[in-house]
Symmetry: C2
Subunit: 458 residues, 2 copies
């Protein structure tokens, strides 16, 4: 069995395909065509002879060619029959989009059991039900039924996402696009009646497009297998997880959502630690962490320099560095002397280096060149260029890029504010420097890079 | 002595005024003229007879009219002389913008001491030095030397800001504009050689434009006076504080920044509790809290309903509600029955109410009308409308506004994503519903509203 078929099938049948607006199988087919998928596509619907210019077949059995994968997005009560038909036709993979199963209670659980039985007897692997299925940004393949009008499709990149929640998966794609994070693959398995984290992690470990893995988790498929799979994968690629359903209220909500038994949070915490997984606290920390890990390498140690032209921001970052295991050590007397020679008397040459409201772009170059390129006192730097003073311009982007490339050390950037700050953020993120809108989040992101380093050293 | 003179002086002298670009006193004068300040303005500079069309005077003593306030933004070593001159002229208020004092070490401390002596002997009150001074959004008065080209000036409103850090004060103004928070007054006192929190809180307590007070604090001016002033003020108006310089690294950074002795954080924590101050953890929580408190009233109790069309988001909010003292109680059987009658079978009628990917705007109306207007089971609601499904439109704004107004209960909103979500956020915030970009921040903001309620009940 090969998970690859789910992401890049040689041929796919879309059950219930139609051109009718608002029909889920219709939107899936439309999305797939819009993406420019290169494999063969077979619409299946007894009502039509052609859909979106493709020949449409009354039933799976009417297709003479081999089919690698079915996409099933018809009402729940009809799904079992389709799975039986695909068993006869010898199709070994299915993505079941339809909702109305386990999450609805006893009757839905029985329907899942009936499908599972047929699947087991016939070697059929299933993603879903109650899900959006997959997106492969390199194979141009998707089973998603959400329109790209309201959410931005992210560019190709290094991040792959595993998510029990569909809304969450889509939101992460949308935020990834906003934050300049490139995407390789996305899988949303919803009720997860078969394929889950334990099957997908070994696959992503081998996938050469995937460099970072992100998991949204209400529950886990198989405790022991998951830990083994995650441990093996995290040895090579960082894994960031967001576990939800922590307290009683969240556990109850998760059960209503995907029928998940969210279980004892302390057990999850221990499992993540064992498996080398970086745990995020909340949606923003999740996005912040995968952004840092997608864009920068972990630092070799925990000595952090802070450079800013907003003293108050330096103070806040220093506070939060301490909370994240980062050491804000003062520069050596020699390094201090070197800097002082180059700066006005009222610049504060310490750690943080405070370039004050008089700062210009090239002051940042002096600090980064002197402290990060020509010296080895620091392992990484948090740069906080506030853009309101007149001396600050777009040039800060090349200043950071040139000096940090020469240093070979990681940097994260914090810049706060409106339109101009947003432009600087976009330009820096195009060059793979992660930018955060608050001092505390930039310190936390650097902390997550360091956490990755420590997990690797383990 | 009346703090009002600092915000709305009948007449102000700008020392060193010039039309030269890049000169600090020149920019201050330009900003003041641009704001449309209605009081009398006197440029002072022996080099010119006219500046920006206003008569310019060689010295303070050459002005025959009374002067209420001086604004001093000339090099530190010349400031003492100006203060002496204003003592002779009988000017009792000064904003000293100039840097180069206490934050530079022993010599700077001595310069401050010399100025303090003259001020004390002559009943002169001083804001600064090393600061931006004040902004009064109703009197159209400012002493800020930052240009409004790169930061957005916020609209008039209910929030007043006290800040030791200038960069921080400006950033909060910029973020306030972005987040739809209206501003009454801003004071940045930098080295705070005289006027500080203990003088300004009693003034803001009486200021009828100010409804919420925000404080950025590295250290406090007078421990006991501050607690008394804050206690009196917080009885009427919520105060949110961000204390920075918490750990050793932050304390050292604060000392370099404004010469502040940041002191033992535990003592601050106890003082905040005693004074009825809501403490924020980080810049974003600070902005999130003042936004919630500026826009919504505290809930009468801690029973929270969660409504969403993204199940996973409901689960995360439920987790974070528990962490913030908010109870996510299930609806009563009667309320559940009432909702179920109105909805499709696969909607999850529980708490969270999960309207699924099939949700439309009017489903939200049904839930809010039934649970918040017609029932008293819940004290407040967190609404999480994800905008990607086709059934969701701009109409959600009026749905929320109409039902929540009818309920008389507070709401906070979470919506995540790109361009469309940003539009919905702006429209909701114009109607005073605070919107947050993550589930954890929406739960925390509601928690801060509840905290205000509990402090009031104290």
């Amino acid at each position: 069995m090969c998970m690859d078929v789910f992401f890049n099938p040689s041929s796919v049948a879309i059950i219930g395909a139609t051109e009718k607006t608002g029909s889920v199988p219709g939107i899936i087919l439309k999305n797939l065509l819009d993406m420019g998928f290169a494999g063969r596509i077979y619409p299946v619907n007894p009502k039509y002879r052609e859909v979106f210019g493709l020949q449409c077949f009354p039933a799976l059995s009417d297709i003479s060619e081999e089919i690698a994968l079915t996409v099933i997005a018809i009402p729940a009560s009809f799904v079992l029959e389709i799975v039986k038909q695909q068993a006869q036709k010898g199709v070994h993979y299915a993505v079941i989009i339809s909702a109305g199963f386990r999450e609805m209670g006893a009757e839905g659980i029985q329907m899942e059991e009936d499908i599972r039985k047929v699947a087991l007897e016939n070697n059929i692997r299933i993603i879903g039900p109650n899900c959006l299925g997959v997106l492969d940004n390199y194979a141009n393949f998707t089973t998603s039924f959400l329109s790209w009008e309201r959410i931005t499709k992210p560019k190709r990149g290094a991040l792959s996402i595993l998510s029990q929640s569909g809304a969450f998966a889509i939101t992460v794609l949308d935020l990834a696009a906003q934050e300049g994070i490139g995407i390789a693959k996305m899988v949303n398995y919803g009720n997860r009646m078969d394929v889950g984290e334990s099957d997908l992690l070994p696959f992503l470990k081998e996938d050469h497009h995937t460099k970072v893995v992100a998991i949204y988790m209400e529950s886990v498929d198989h405790g022991r297998r998951f830990i083994e799979a995650a441990k093996a994968c995290s040895r090579e690629k960082p894994i960031v997880a967001l576990k939800v359903g922590k307290g009683a209220a969240g556990v109850a909500a998760a059960k209503s959502h995907t029928g998940a038994i969210a279980g004892n949070y302390e057990i999850y915490k221990a499992a993540f630690l064992k498996a080398g997984i970086i745990e995020a606290n909340g949606l923003e920390e999740f996005i912040d962490g995968i952004k840092a890990l997608s864009m920068q390498s972990p630092p070799m140690g925990n000595k952090i320099l802070i450079v800013t032209n907003g003293g108050g921001f330096g103070v806040i970052v220093a506070d939060y560095c301490a909370q994240n295991g980062l050491e804000v050590t003062p520069p050596s007397p020699e390094l201090k002397e070197k800097l002082k020679e180059k700066f006005a008397k009222f610049y504060v040459v310490n750690n943080p280096v405070d370039l004050t409201g008089s700062a210009c772009d090239d002051d940042y170059r002096v600090v980064l060149q002197t402290c990060m390129v020509e010296s080895d006192e620091y392992d990484a730097v948090i740069i906080i260029p506030l853009m309101s003073p007149k001396g600050m311009s777009e040039k800060i982007v090349s200043v950071i890029d040139e000096t940090m490339k020469a240093s070979g050390k990681p940097a994260v950037v914090c810049t706060v504010g409106g339109v101009f700050a947003t432009k600087i953020k976009r330009l820096l993120e195009e060059r793979h420097y992660p930018v955060y809108p608050s001092p505390e989040r930039s310190a936390k992101a650097m902390g997550m890079l360091l956490e990755r380093k420590m997990l690797q050293a383990h």
